[in-house]
Amino acid sequence: MAEEKSQASSSKMLTLKASDGVLFEVELNIAKEMKTVQAYIDDCEDIETIPIPNVLGKHLAIVIEYIKKTNEEYDAEFEKQWNMDDLQLLLLAANYLNISGLQECLCKAIAKRIENKSPEYVRKVFNIENDHSPEEEAKLRKEYKWAFEGVDKD
């Protein structure tokens, strides 16, 4: 049984079900790029529909597209079309599905967007609240004075 399956693997189709119920039919070799899915298939040989409970349909579509098209050129342009919110959700998806290439591509893109930007800018963009108390903040500023100079005041 196992040998038959591997011979037909290139044409076998699987269904992935996103958290919002959207279904995607993908070839087995595409699904295998998602190591989490691969492990699932290895454990449950006859499965046809695989639930992906933490990824929305719209992001799963993007992930599948990435796997199909990834190359140096594609990766370089890939991240430009997404806003920070989508990038974060895509990164969480890539992490959950264990797709290392996509994860690296996204981490690189996000790092690029916060390069040489002030902490205030980063907080705004990432929706992070700075919960240092004013006293803590003052103490940090004093102790590491050299750290707070010469940055874009974005």
Binding site: D85, A111, N116, P119, F126, D131, E136, W146, A147
Partner: protein, 321 residues
């Protein structure tokens, strides 16, 4: 946008009440992956000051396996670039980052502000260091290396370009670093064209594991180069740009062609590229001819004499009579 209440323990990430995804919910190792790409100065100046949670992640030794301070002056105001004050700050930052690594440091890249004292500081705290780059560090001396080399036994890659190291440093490095695979040692203070194989011979004798060697500008002769090819049988990548004392006599070109997969020799003129391509494509029997230099070799085989009348143009060495 409403924010949640203020008094929470410093390390717990606080959630803003918003429908937008929360970046603080990212797994720690992913956040670490992103922040590490920012480079050492960026992390210390900006990233870790965003919130206590990121501050905490930036204290993790796993964030500090690679310290990259290779192009640092971008981060500082023009007024202080190029001043001793900046160098002091950079040294302090570097020491701070080395402390954070807690012995896990594997790779470090420093441009120009390195000193003997900093080198010692690193050596005393980073016994696992495998890659070191100290570019244009004029304040690092042979004595500095002599004192610390024996602590860097795991070094695989050393780049001390544009520095003032002499054969003394090479000797002590060769003796102390048995795992060395890559050496960049060029732009020495002595740029004279006087033949000198001292450095080449030390490399040949003590660095038998080398796979990559960049010695551009070195005053070595054919003797030194042959010694290196003999002494470093694993050598696959070699940069001998501006090594003007090389004559490539006898079958030295053949040896280079056979052994070296990636050769940089700095095209002095278009002629050199033609020669290399010609030699690479031609049959090996041309190497049996009894000639004194590679220029003669090409001349004797090539039918197109006209193009080569002015082959001496732009060549600085004294190969051609």
């Amino acid at each position: 946008m409403a924010s949640s209440s203020s008094s929470t323990p410093a390390k717990k990430p606080k959630l803003k009440i918003t429908t937008n995804p929360n970046w603080l919910e990212l797994p720690r190792d992913i956040t670490s992956n992103i922040l590490q790409r920012l480079g050492t100065v960026e992390i210390l100046k900006n990233a870790r000051n965003v919130c206590p949670y990121w501050w905490n992640i930036c204290k993790d030794p796993s964030m500090w396996r690679n310290i990259d301070m290779g192009t640092v002056d971008l981060y500082f105001e023009p007024a202080i670039r190029g001043t001793p004050d900046l160098d002091d700050r950079l040294v302090k930052m570097c020491q701070y980052a080395v402390d954070l690594s807690s012995g896990h440091l594997e790779k470090i890249n420093i441009n120009s502000f390195g000193t003997d004292a900093l080198l010692k500081y690193i050596a005393d705290r980073a016994s696992n260091l495998q890659h070191i780059r100290l570019a244009s560090c004029c304040q690092i001396s042979d004595e500095g290396w002599c004192e610390v080399a024996k602590k860097f036994v795991l070094l695989k890659e050393i780049d001390i370009s544009q520095g003032f190291q002499s054969k003394k440093s090479l000797e002590v490095i060769g003796q102390s670093c048995p795992l060395l695979k890559s050496l960049t040692f060029n732009g020495t203070s002595d740029q004279s064209l006087i033949n000198c194989d001292d450095e080449a011979l030390i490399i040949a004798k003590t660095m038998s594991g080398l796979c990559h060697l960049d010695i551009h500008g070195n005053p070595l002769t054919d003797v030194g180069l042959i010694a290196i090819l003999d002494g470093c049988p694993l050598l696959k990548s070699l940069d001998i740009t501006r090594c003007f004392n090389l004559e490539f006599s006898g079958n030295l070109w053949r040896r280079l062609h056979n052994q070296i997969k990636n050769l940089e020799f700095g095209l002095l003129n278009k002629k050199d590229l033609e020669i290399w391509e010609y030699l690479s494509e031609s049959c090996f029997n041309i190497f049996d001819s009894n000639v004194n230099s590679y220029y003669e070799m090409v001349d004797s085989e090539d039918e197109d004499e006209d193009e080569h009348e002015d082959e001496d143009e732009g060549i600085d060495d004294d190969t051609n009579a």
